[in-house]
Symmetry: D3
Subunit: 238 residues, 6 copies
Amino acid sequence: MRPSGRTPEQPRDIRITRHYTRHAEGSVLIEFGDTKVICTASVENKVPPFLRGEGKGWITAEYGMLPRSTGSRMGREAARGKQGGRTVEIQRLIGRSLRAAVDLSALGEHTITVDCDVIQADGGTRTAAITGGCVALVDALNHLVAEKRLKKSPLKQMVAAVSVGVYKGTPVVDLDYPEDSEAETDMNVIMTDQGGFIEIQGTAEGAPFVQEELDSMLTLARQGITRLFEIQQEALSA
Amino acid sequence: MRPSGRTPEQPRDIRITRHYTRHAEGSVLIEFGDTKVICTASVENKVPPFLRGEGKGWITAEYGMLPRSTGSRMGREAARGKQGGRTVEIQRLIGRSLRAAVDLSALGEHTITVDCDVIQADGGTRTAAITGGCVALVDALNHLVAEKRLKKSPLKQMVAAVSVGVYKGTPVVDLDYPEDSEAETDMNVIMTDQGGFIEIQGTAEGAPFVQEELDSMLTLARQGITRLFEIQQEALSA
Amino acid sequence: MRPSGRTPEQPRDIRITRHYTRHAEGSVLIEFGDTKVICTASVENKVPPFLRGEGKGWITAEYGMLPRSTGSRMGREAARGKQGGRTVEIQRLIGRSLRAAVDLSALGEHTITVDCDVIQADGGTRTAAITGGCVALVDALNHLVAEKRLKKSPLKQMVAAVSVGVYKGTPVVDLDYPEDSEAETDMNVIMTDQGGFIEIQGTAEGAPFVQEELDSMLTLARQGITRLFEIQQEALSA
Amino acid sequence: MRPSGRTPEQPRDIRITRHYTRHAEGSVLIEFGDTKVICTASVENKVPPFLRGEGKGWITAEYGMLPRSTGSRMGREAARGKQGGRTVEIQRLIGRSLRAAVDLSALGEHTITVDCDVIQADGGTRTAAITGGCVALVDALNHLVAEKRLKKSPLKQMVAAVSVGVYKGTPVVDLDYPEDSEAETDMNVIMTDQGGFIEIQGTAEGAPFVQEELDSMLTLARQGITRLFEIQQEALSA
Amino acid sequence: MRPSGRTPEQPRDIRITRHYTRHAEGSVLIEFGDTKVICTASVENKVPPFLRGEGKGWITAEYGMLPRSTGSRMGREAARGKQGGRTVEIQRLIGRSLRAAVDLSALGEHTITVDCDVIQADGGTRTAAITGGCVALVDALNHLVAEKRLKKSPLKQMVAAVSVGVYKGTPVVDLDYPEDSEAETDMNVIMTDQGGFIEIQGTAEGAPFVQEELDSMLTLARQGITRLFEIQQEALSA
Amino acid sequence: MRPSGRTPEQPRDIRITRHYTRHAEGSVLIEFGDTKVICTASVENKVPPFLRGEGKGWITAEYGMLPRSTGSRMGREAARGKQGGRTVEIQRLIGRSLRAAVDLSALGEHTITVDCDVIQADGGTRTAAITGGCVALVDALNHLVAEKRLKKSPLKQMVAAVSVGVYKGTPVVDLDYPEDSEAETDMNVIMTDQGGFIEIQGTAEGAPFVQEELDSMLTLARQGITRLFEIQQEALSA
């Protein structure tokens, strides 16, 4: 029934490649099927003005899509002179989610910027970005420990994200673009590896959704994210 | 226990004043306690480029805060030359929510822009904006009928919104600023008067939240929104 | 003869409501008939770079119109990414006028920003903004005294403004929008309560104006502003 | 008494050079002493959107200063990405003043843009720009007649401008920079060659000014502008 | 002598991967050693305003670097709201170079935009972008033929580019970042596969260069580019 | 054969007027025939952030064209809110070229900004800007010596620039606009008075150019620039 032939609870093939580019403290290519996102974590020895002198660190994220990562070319945001509303909304979500992974008080006065650049898009770019960005973040934190700039990693918990939705009346996990563009409801769920929710964003694109559908979607999300935590661990222990 | 002395399930005093300013097709002042938002709905006889020639209409929203609507003055976005990320995120949410109220195919080639300008802020500005914006939208739709530009109102259902959260361990409804700034979890719930969800956005600010807390918050939201639909109807029938 | 039925020397009903919003050090709603402007005065403990270390203070103003304060919706300046020329021109005028009210050397290193936001427009928004902004400014200065951040108020004199013009050949005071859009000459006069001129800006929209018309307009302005000073005092002593 | 040794009613040496650059339909270098402004008038066969289909023309102006036209280098507005408030205020004044010179209904669907670029500044750049811009405008109108795009010139009257002010207690005409930066009052007066006022902008920089000073300044302005009209005519008949 | 151990006339390992992403009409990953650039060619059925109605096509290019493609993170141009001077300079060079490859009159009213996004930078990004961009362009032109939107490919000639420079007194080809940052002279040479020059940009970073050095560099460039044309052909015939 | 009747190796009449405006430390009007550029050099007692504390100075350049310096009016860059790509490319070239003239280590912590503003354009504005800008720069350096802010001038060598090209099959020097807009190849050559190249930028606008044409163009450039150095010296010794 799904265009890809997947079962409702079946995510796409997910691959995480660490050390993808060589300059960043953390650099990951994450693939959710045909969705491909480069996530790099960059460390700087300073914090934003609102945190100066507090002895704490900060995690922030930026998001972009290559102009032809999509079916038809989008105007380049740098050329248009501003980031679009969708971009801003997504990068704020990624930043909030990744901050939940780290004890900022134990990070010292460092800022880690996680850049999530979509090379190829097929739905689910923001959930891929969070899931891959967390791995890049772990590598950057470990780099700070290896360089003795921190005594131990301030990582509190892993964070991962998956989309769920109601497609032709059936709740499904990890929607690709053909599903996403027709789904009645689309929900992004961000969780910790200890089972708590970091963020839930569910939107009825067509008909409103009801509690029962919400519950089914959350069940699918929980299963899907459990698989993501395994893939993150495999990548990190490779 | 709440700073305002309210019980967990008690919203603030909510007031809706229609015909608040005289030029707009719909103009509402909505007050959620000390949060005050002017919502105006403006009709134009055109649609955005992506809808031209399709015979459908469009609903969009813009959001702003007066620089001193808050405790300390914020820089004016028009002077800084760009809208902040929070503003963009909120106005996209308001727009999506209000589009769910209307059958766009029956709106004809009109655009209705709902401007939500915060005069005074004390938490919950986005939920007030959606709830008041829907009333302004109804007035603008009825104006189109009264002027014989539409045969009947394309309103499908009313839409309202409330925030819920976990404050000092207890789920509460309609958080004011002192609560909002300390809540562990903050969730905005947008529903239709037929009981469906339009959007759920829940964010763990501190510790992650669990399914049980989510369920409690949704129950509180459902109760609170039911009261909002009554207040909307009282205003519209006045 | 005037569309409103007023006599040439009759201003509109003018109302000043102090403490209109609760966060600002000074907050005033001023109404010149259907023109409604919220004026807030915000105090900051710093001065612009060109004044640093001089022991003086600064007064500045910003002006904005809600998009649907007018008969047809104007684009939101924050969304367009720049303030229009008219906005810039008006806020510079307000700032210059209000600085004349205060002994900046006695203000200490404080900046007071007066935000004038037009909720509803019917002509004369800049004169309403100056007249109401001066009351908000007085409240902010008194606040500094009450908080013992200044020993005495550095207020030198009150400032108020009114528009005059030649409408259908007759000089009239306090033009509303129907008059303003057809007037041959439009002049804004800003005075002190000691009878001096702070600023005169007269523009021939149609035929040039002559000395005799100028004199008539200035006479009307003087009378109108005298009434404004009374209304300011009534508000301040309430 | 004046730093330049001039008498109060004595303007600076004023020179107008027509055909200063070779591409524009009208091109003038105007010098008010050490203030030097290039004014070019450019004709286009189109009108702004708000005038389309009305059979009328439009006159507009833009103003700029070379970065080192002043004593210390100012940032280039093109590099900073926006025109400053002073620039916007001045170019709106020039545009309004020059529109008064022409019967726009008789201009046909042409736009004439008058660019006023300050090569060297020593006070009075806006009055020089208006006075020189009017000559460039006349040349552009005559060019349209010579090219048979108009039957006769739609020029209604000449327009010129001069500054007056109160310097060390004495009203003086055509202030240079040393005077301008210390004057208590500064007023720009724009008149037609038939004796009417197009615009009066008087600002008290220090103490307020009174009716008597206003009258003295207007008398000086009238005399000074009479001389400017002679200089314009000499240039145009050369 | 070269940091990489290469001989002066030895370029880096160069690899071209076609069909790198799946949406674009042409998509190439080009690697000049550690410099990696994604080049996509996107076809649109329209031309810029200055070409409308002329029956010709247009080729243009845009260039960007991922924020952490370099040793330390650069600010994202989309977030800063403008493209830097270096970016603008490079994308204009790429566009001019690629237009030389195509008979624009035979392209029909199509625009092809070649986006060159640097994933990892180690010197020579602009020459890699031109060399890889030409392959992506060929694929896009062949796509137009395959889709019967053109009868035959309007390709006139292949274009490739290489950098040469004087490093520690010796002319060398294809400088990597350690060389580039210390070279006395840096020159980018763009040629056609028929032996003509499209563009030469040589810059003395330190001491001026003389005719003899210029000749040596051009000889090296010619050799290097000959090798690039072979690699392009291998990729295109794969 | 050339539209102007010049021989291939004949530059236009070139004139340099020093002390053209009175505020700048160096101010030059340079004319290459009908191309007229004002070049001012402004000294500031500070350096950009990347040089702070290094005891060195900096030279930078900005370039602009008056809107009607050209045959048809161009939009004003300050009004459009950004500098165009061509402007950015040119001002970077001017800056690089002029830095080659000066020993930055001996300049002290000063920044000299050379503003090149085109009053009238007829081809070759960038080469005129470099040639005239170098004279303004020399005057500014000598000003620093005269004011005892430097012991001796840090000038290393003079720099000048000329364009060469292939027009109707013949290499020619110093192209004017009618030639430039039809030339097959256009090359800008910047040299020092000691015979070295600072920058070569050659672009095939039509057919590619070959080594022999390159050699001819460089020979013409060398001759033309030799004449420019004489004219610079005449001006500086006047």
